[in-house]
């Protein structure tokens, strides 16, 4: 890709409403991003309520943790251990085998085991024991190997 081609791409990108552009070919890759944040989507937040009826502030979306994560396969309650007084399935630093149970998710009184997707090392437990967790939310961060 010549510089001239890149400039053309940049110009098209500037004129479009896209916020990011990523392009990669065999021997070349380019990333463009606009400085202006996509404000409107985040904007429709209710004004702060009066103390008399103050609802809790809307839960901030969980910060995207760095590194791969095991995510919730369904909406439900997260349990780190098989029973309230039992040892957690995994702790930070544990090395686990692919398929090993790392936590439970309860939905409709059914306990669903969540398994490690590969041999890996546990880097962080991202949910509180007993918390209601949305579908797709990150549960446990890991590092392969």
């Amino acid at each position: 890709m010549t510089n001239q081609e890149i400039f053309e791409l940049m110009a098209r990108f500037d004129a479009s409403t896209a916020a990011t552009l990523k392009l990669s070919t065999k021997d070349f890759s380019l990333e463009l991003g606009k400085a202006v944040a996509a404000a409107p989507a985040a904007v429709a937040v209710a004004p702060v309520a009066a103390p008399a009826a103050a609802p809790a502030a809307a839960p901030a979306p969980a910060a995207q943790p760095e590194g791969p994560c095991i995510t919730a396969p369904l909406v439900g309650t997260f349990y780190a251990a098989s029973a309230p007084d039992a040892e957690p399935f995994v702790k930070v630093g544990d090395k686990v085998k692919k398929g090993q149970t790392v936590c439970l998710m309860e939905a409709m009184k059914m306990m669903n085991e969540v398994h490690a997707p590969c041999d890996c090392t546990i880097e962080a437990i991202l949910q509180e024991d007993g918390a209601l967790v949305s579908f797709g939310d990150p549960l446990i961060r890991y590092r392969e190997g």
Binding site: A38, L74, V75, G76, S134, F135
Partner: protein, 461 residues
């Protein structure tokens, strides 16, 4: 009264129910699919939970996920909105088993009204007119002739296995009945391998008229007047109004009484709608009962001054109806237009996508129910309803003029939509006169589209 309600829906109806909860000081809990993370109902809510991926079957139809959230958050009721799980008898049963109030009728009632044949029988027993017909299969052409002679012509012969017009014949003359019946049966055998045939009266140029019902757990049933929903495209309603121009006070009275009788026969509880077809001679026939809140409920709210979603919640909580039949007065005129992300010029092809800019109409007598905001991206996975524009005025003509100006104010930059088509209909002589049937849109589509093209060219010039 309930403490916390889970709203098991999305789009404008989720926002509608959310508002009713806030106004009753009930905490709303909302759920959403991964495709709806930026939806307005999620933005508004303090408590929102993702219940699955975009596909409805995995999220908004996912009974386990919804009940899990309801229980974990301590909800004592679930509002199903319309569509999705709203007429799912098993979901209503599951709510009841979980000790959570389902804001709607019981699973038994949903089942009973969901079975067309059973519902038809129930209505007949309650003295509610149904479309005259064979109440099951007719065995021979002679039996069919006998039946057709007794109910009167024209009649419609239908193969029970039929579809797409195959095995179907309209019969206008008695002497055509037997040959056409045989023809239809042969076609059905050839196409579907079945010769089972039905027969019913063919209603020409019907209106779709429905009555809003509200019934409490104490056994009180009231009707909140009629809605004319005849402006449809392939059974999808586009414009609804109340009251209908086709009804005389006497006919309205009789149809309302039939609607109440229908609801009572079904031991109905909560909000429901009795749908009728009305022929040009003023004969009306029950077609079906919708056991949920309807998209078009706001027109009834505006003419009766009664908040139907609030009333639904009160009823589910065990409170009696807030009005008697005598206290329900239809006043003024309301019209609703459904703003859909679909392109009328290209066979109503759905047009999801990013809404770059939206400006909604406002002012006196204008109500907008929508989940849109500037910058919102309409996902491709669900229906194309973007917004409901509802106007209220003392008379029908004033309501039409108000709707015109509201449509003129509406700006949606981004996906194609049907705003212009709706605006053309508001100027069409047959609509202005109230002189239309369910065939209106098909009959006038070419005219309406050509007006739009002229308008577009003038705007460019």
């Amino acid at each position: 009264m309930f403490k916390r309600i889970l709203i098991a829906n999305r789009g404008e109806i989720a926002v509608r129910v959310f508002r009713a909860c806030r106004e009753l000081d009930i905490e709303p809990v909302v759920v959403y699919s991964q495709a709806d993370v930026n939806a307005l109902h999620v933005q508004l809510a303090e408590r929102a939970y993702c219940i699955g991926p975009a596909r409805s079957a995995d999220s908004y139809l996912n009974v386990d996920a919804i009940l899990t959230v309801a229980k974990a958050t301590g909800c004592d009721a679930i509002h199903p909105g319309y569509g999705f799980l709203s007429e799912n008898d098993e979901f209503a049963d599951a709510c009841a088993q979980a000790g959570i109030a389902f804001i709607g009728p019981s699973g038994d009632v949903i089942r009973a009204m969901g079975n067309k044949a059973a519902a038809r029988k129930l209505m007949m027993s309650a003295g509610v007119p149904v479309v005259p017909g064979s109440d099951g299969a007719v065995e021979t052409a002679e039996q069919a002739k006998e039946l057709a002679d007794s109910i009167g012509y024209p009649v419609l012969i239908k193969a029970s296995a039929g579809g797409g017009g195959r095995g179907m014949r309209r019969v206008f003359e008695p002497d055509q009945l037997i040959p056409l019946f045989e023809e239809a049966r042969s076609e059905s055998v050839a196409c579907f391998g079945s010769g089972e045939m039905y027969l019913e009266k063919l209603i020409l140029n019907p209106r779709h008229i429905e009555f809003q019902i509200m019934a409490d757990q104490q056994g009180n049933v009231i009707q909140l007047g009629d809605r004319d929903c005849s402006i449809q495209r392939r059974n999808q309603k586009l414009i609804e109004e109340s009251p209908s121009k086709a009804l005389t006070p006497e006919l309205r009275e009789r149809m309302g009484a039939a609607a109440v009788a229908a609801a009572k026969a079904a031991h109905y509880v909560n909000a429901g709608t009795i749908e009728f077809v009305l022929d040009p001679d003023g004969n009306f026939y029950f077609i079906e009962m919708n056991t949920r809140i309807q998209v078009e409920h706001p027109v009834t709210e505006l003419v009766t001054g009664m908040d139907l979603v609030r009333e639904q919640i009160r009823i589910a909580a065990g409170l009696p109806l807030s009005r008697t039949q005598e206290e329900v007065v239809q006043k003024g005129h309301a019209i609703e237009c459904r703003i859909n992300a679909e392109d009328p010029a290209h066979n109503f092809q759905p047009c999801p996508g990013k809404i770059d800019f939206v400006h909604l109409p406002g002012g006196y007598g204008v109500r907008v129910d929508t989940g849109l905001y500037s910058g919102y991206t309409l996902p491709p996975y669900y229906d194309s309803l973007m917004a409901k524009l509802i106007v209220f005025a003392p008379t029908r003509l004033e309501a039409i003029r108000r709707m015109r100006r509201a449509l003129e104010e509406l700006v949606i930059e981004g996906p194609a939509n049907n705003t212009d088509l709706l605006h053309q209909i508001m100027h069409h002589p047959d609509f202005v006169r109230g002189n239309y049937t369910t065939g209106y849109l098909e009959a006038n589509m070419d005219t309406l589209l050509s007006w739009s093209r002229v308008g577009e060219e003038e705007a460019k010039a």
